[in-house]
Symmetry: C2
Subunit: 155 residues, 2 copies
Amino acid sequence: MTREELMRRAIELSIENVAKGGGPFGAVIAKDGEIIATGVNRVTASCDPTAHAEVSAIRAATSKLKTFNLSGCEIYTSCEPCPMCLGAIYWARLDKIYYGNNKTDAKHIGFDDSFIYDELSLKPANRKLPASILLPKEAIKAFEAWTNKENKQIY
Amino acid sequence: MTREELMRRAIELSIENVAKGGGPFGAVIAKDGEIIATGVNRVTASCDPTAHAEVSAIRAATSKLKTFNLSGCEIYTSCEPCPMCLGAIYWARLDKIYYGNNKTDAKHIGFDDSFIYDELSLKPANRKLPASILLPKEAIKAFEAWTNKENKQIY
């Protein structure tokens, strides 16, 4: 399939998902022009705030290929990924992102992508969501255990 | 439970998870001092690059409470959330974050949290992961369908 055909499939999924009661988002993960897996936004339907189209597609693709590393694959998403999904795309090692709508379009229909991008660009102390450090001297013991462990699976 | 006790539980989970072959990360979601759910890093074990401790804890908590909105709850995580997890925490509407290790500690033991934070702070065109806009005039139709839909569940 061409890039346009792959994106059109992601867009179709996003439109179909509105009719099914989900959010207006769809994604396709492809390798060498073939679809590996798809995903749609199922946040409200599945009571899972992480079930965005991209995260759902990544989970489906890694489950199908039995790997946590999708290098060599590309993601076609109907909307620019939010910070959560962009982070997931980095962790999944995807090669490239194609997107249709952007975060400003998403803001105009009531989604918080743009707000979260703004928050992440602030220093932690200036964010609306407060964060505090607690027991760092105890927490570091897990990292020491990781460092000392032999035969660990690094990713 | 006190804040320190809740964080100590997250740290215990992170240390136990290393012994079990997972990454050195654990998280607890609590409401009014009671644990709602916990999570550990199962990226390699479950072939899921999104299965960080915080995302896993959020999914477990929302599944248990049958809601996609965790306002009123706090998250105690053994390490500062990466951008994916921080985004998930915003989407879940958690009230506050407590963390032990930070992203620099994570970098020192080989995890990419710091790199992804750096990437997100760049303009998209300057990131190592390329992104292109494709078919925006077709993609916007899903947002129009969403706008025109009645009785939709907004989140």
